[in-house]
Amino acid sequence: MERYKRQELFIGKNKQKRLNKSIVAVIGLGALGSLVSELLARAGINLTLIDRDVVEITNLQRQVLFTEKDLGELKAKCIKKHLAEINSNIKINSSAIDLNFNNIKLIRNADLILDCTDNLETRFLLNEFALKNKIPMVYGAAIRDKGTVMNIIPGKVCFNCIFNKSSSNETCDTSGVLNTITSLTASIQANEAIKILTNQDYETGLIRIDLSNNSITRLGLKKNPNCSVCNGIYEYLNGKKDKDFIKFCGSNNFQFRRKNNLEELKKRLSKAGKITGSREFIKFDNIIIFKDRVMIKADNENEARSLYSKYIGD
């Protein structure tokens, strides 16, 4: 196809065909996810896009594809719309959901998973799903002027082998992030995805990118013999580690999982104040209510919990 000529000249017809047949699931449409989606869409890869958020003003500094017109809209919906305008020859599915052990089967048909999420919980869940279903995955993350990428190939070193005892206190505070490191990290992530999909030699170590001194460091990896996930124990996938309440990184967002009747809540909350929104969600003050969850912006957990019980209930 004319569209892919420049890329095809370099990788060859067969690899291009392979890409055009592939489906990649992009989980998280923030700085990494939005750029990775654009790169893969332009390269001719079919996409399944998943994200639970709406576009906020603080996203525009680094999250490509979004425009001021998208503010307040669902990220999954916006990206699908923009990408369809860029490449109408690929298939794009998008879901504005909070990925969890109940709905993760949605990405079972993916040939590869791109982990662009903003929290460790979902990364552990994806790792277990990828290993169990033998789907390769590329982990990417960024903070400040540092980025990291690691390929997770079924049977090789997994995410849990390295990060099983980890917690990340840093991303959640006000450390900040540059759009230059997110775009560099996303590019490497997308490139590794293409290598894996087209059977080329891919990175087997952990890549660390540091813009303070323009270094890319590759660190060797070893499988952890005591890794529970490599030994077939899937605690996130079977719901054992599932939490109904989560604090998200970056923006002081708290999420409560709950089945909501939007019509009923609309009626009830309109008595308390102004309500905006669409068919998929309603917005009230610092609260966004979806059919399957409630997101609350608050300074701390206590404030979030009190807003929750004040306006939502139970």
Binding site: G140, A141, A142, I143, K146, L219, L221, C249
Partner: protein, 67 residues
Amino acid sequence: MTIKVFIERYNETKVIEKNIKDINSLLKELSINPETVVTARNNELATTDAKLKDGDEVRILSVISGG
């Protein structure tokens, strides 16, 4: 013994001249919570119980989960 330590969080390289048994003890010495970092010894990721010897280079990297 001499150990070269790179602490990514502060873009800082330190040379420590002291007998330090393993990465765990090194993190304690530097007052770093082991849960918030991954560590590498001589360019290979290593668990915190990895033993240290003279001349080893240790990298202390933050756990990054932002996307």
